[in-house]
């Protein structure tokens, strides 16, 4: 019985992330538009975009290989599984013992690998530029993310998100410099990974500046729908990870009643709303940086991760 209930909760989480992901993106776009005193697209526009793209026919380049056709499915599946592994409204999920934070980073890394291959596959110059820039960003963003993961795991004594969240709710946390550094590091990584403004502009098709859009320029129809859905999911995933680790309040523990789960869902939606609002304000307030400044930006994130792990050894000198 217990197992069935846990499986149901896990299923609920996986569905919830898929349902909420386009809404989060629509919400961020809406807030950004309102901050610029524009009307902005309706909140449900991303759902309509996806529905429309799925109905449209796929246009393939003549020399597209199976990699190009398979990539959207792999990217979407890997991202969706990774997003489903994060304890969003309930912790102690069925599969969380098999998959920890490092598995999530690895899933996202393989999704990125497939996308970069697909960008190179057709052989257009834009796809090549996009893939090479994406790899440049990844080569710094992934170590930075891993350093943050190591810091959190050293603190909590576990790499599992559920245990880390439980530790962060406990009395042993206190005010720690390492956590502040890890938070800044993971936010910088999240901005770079989701192609948000100082690193990349998600709303542009200006060829000199784009990274993510350049890789997917050749996609259309249901393939494009899958890739768009994967990028919505990725944004949701990063906001959820940050919320789960640094604001773990309201997450229902395993075996709690229906009421606790409802509280968890409400708290989760509220956290997403706050995270999306902060992201929109940040993106509106800042200018995009040149591509050649991005390594400095991500180098700073990597340095924050290193510093956080280093300072753990000074803290209270256990």
């Amino acid at each position: 019985m217990e197992l069935i209930l846990d499986a149901l909760v896990q299923f609920g989480e996986i569905t919830l992330v898929l349902v909420l992901a386009p809404l989060l993106t629509g919400y961020v776009r809406k807030v950004k538009a309102r901050l610029l005193r524009r009307q902005g697209p309706p909140l449900l526009q991303p759902y309509r975009d996806l529905a429309r793209l799925i109905r449209k026919e796929v246009v393939l380049a003549h020399n597209a290989s199976w990699v190009f056709r398979a990539a959207p499915y792999i990217v979407f599946a890997a991202t969706w599984v990774a997003a489903g592994l994060v304890p969003t409204f309930a912790s102690g999920l069925v599969v969380s013992y098999a998959a920890d934070m490092i598995a999530i980073v690895a899933l996202l890394g393989s999704a990125r690998f497939m996308l970069a291959l697909a960008g190179l596959d057709v052989g257009t110059s834009f796809g090549g530029i996009g893939s090479s820039r994406e790899m440049m960003i990844a080569s710094l963003a992934e170590p930075a993310m891993l350093m943050v993961v190591f810091t959190l795991s050293l603190l909590a004594g576990s790499t599992q998100l559920s245990s880390i969240a439980a530790f962060m709710q406990g009395p042993d946390v206190g005010l720690r410099v390492s956590l502040a550094l890890a938070l800044s590091g993971i936010i910088m990584v999240a901005i770079a990974e989701n192609a948000r403004i100082p690193v990349d502009n998600p709303a542009t098709h200006l060829e000199l500046t784009m990274v993510h859009e350049a890789m997917i320029l050749e996609y259309s129809g249901r393939h494009l729908a899958l890739i768009e859905a994967a990028s919505f999911l990725k944004l949701l995933l990063y906001v959820s990870v940050i919320a789960c680790v640094f604001a773990p309040w309201g997450v229902a523990v395993s075996g709690a009643g229906l009421g606790a789960y409802l509280v968890g869902v409400v708290a989760y939606v509220a956290k997403l709303a706050v995270g999306g609002l902060l992201l929109a304000v940040f993106e509106t307030a800042i200018a995009k940086m040149r591509v050649f400044r991005v390594p400095d930006f991500l180098g700073a994130a990597l340095m924050l991760g290193f510093l956080a792990a280093l300072l753990l050894f000074v803290t209270r000198a256990h």
Binding site: L175, G299, A300, L304, L311, V314
Partner: protein
């Protein structure tokens, strides 16, 4: 002394190391001055917190001096000097920012490795403060050697002094007279450096200190 007090002291000291890294990362002159003001603000907060937990009222005066002189007077004065001299407002580092930051991490690791074993008998607070203070001092030195521009070298010098204050307040019982004399010597240094900047600028039309090497005939 409870754990929260320790954590807050730790947070301020660690924040100071972080602001030192921000100084290394910054490549615009006015941004550098603003971050230096932030550096001084964090130092004064840290000193004020130490005054509170050590119950040493004279440390409040130290905090006030740091706040007024280093967070307001020196940045504003440097700002005016830069505007007066019409200095080129981007900073060219000797090596890339990435390598400088990596070297900075190495220095922080070094100071932790050095400080923790040799202060094994001291209290936890003093140990951490000394480790952080040594990091801030080394980062200030790194900033002085890795920048060509005289103004950013001045900022590096001032941030070293902030690190010294952090070390002195962490180890209990720095007399007030020491702090006052240090603050005055910093002001005098600022005046001397200001005159120095005017002279370099007058002579070479730039504040790039590599011109000095060429003038001495050390470089072609």
């Amino acid at each position: 002394m409870d754990r929260l007090a320790l954590d807050i002291a730790h947070l301020f000291a660690g924040g100071l190391v972080l602001v030192s890294f921000m100084l290394l990362y910054q490549d615009r002159m006015f941004g550098l001055l603003n971050i230096f003001a932030l550096h001084a603000l964090v130092v004064s907060l840290s000193v004020a917190w130490q005054a509170y937990i050590q119950e040493a009222p004279h440390l409040y005066i130290t905090a006030a001096i740091a706040l007024v002189v280093k967070a307001f007077v020196i940045p504003v004065a440097l700002h005016r000097i830069i505007v007066r001299l019409g200095i080129h407002r981007t900073i060219e580092p000797v090596v890339g920012i990435g390598q400088t930051m990596l070297a900075g991490i190495g220095l922080v690791a070094l100071s932790i490795m050095v400080m923790l074993p040799i202060t094994a008998e001291a209290g936890t607070l003093a140990r951490e403060d000394l480790a952080f203070a040594l990091s801030v001092i080394l980062l200030g030195l790194l900033m002085m050697v890795s920048r060509r521009n005289a103004v950013s070298q001045v900022i590096g010098f001032m941030s070293i002094e902030n690190g010294l204050i952090l070390a002195a307040t962490g180890a209990k019982g720095m007399p007030l007279v020491v702090e006052i004399s240090v603050a005055f010597s910093i002001l005098v240094a600022l005046i001397v450096i200001g005159i120095f900047l005017f002279r370099i600028r007058e002579r070479f039309d730039t504040v790039d200190v590599h011109e000095l090497d060429r003038f001495r005939g050390e470089q072609p």
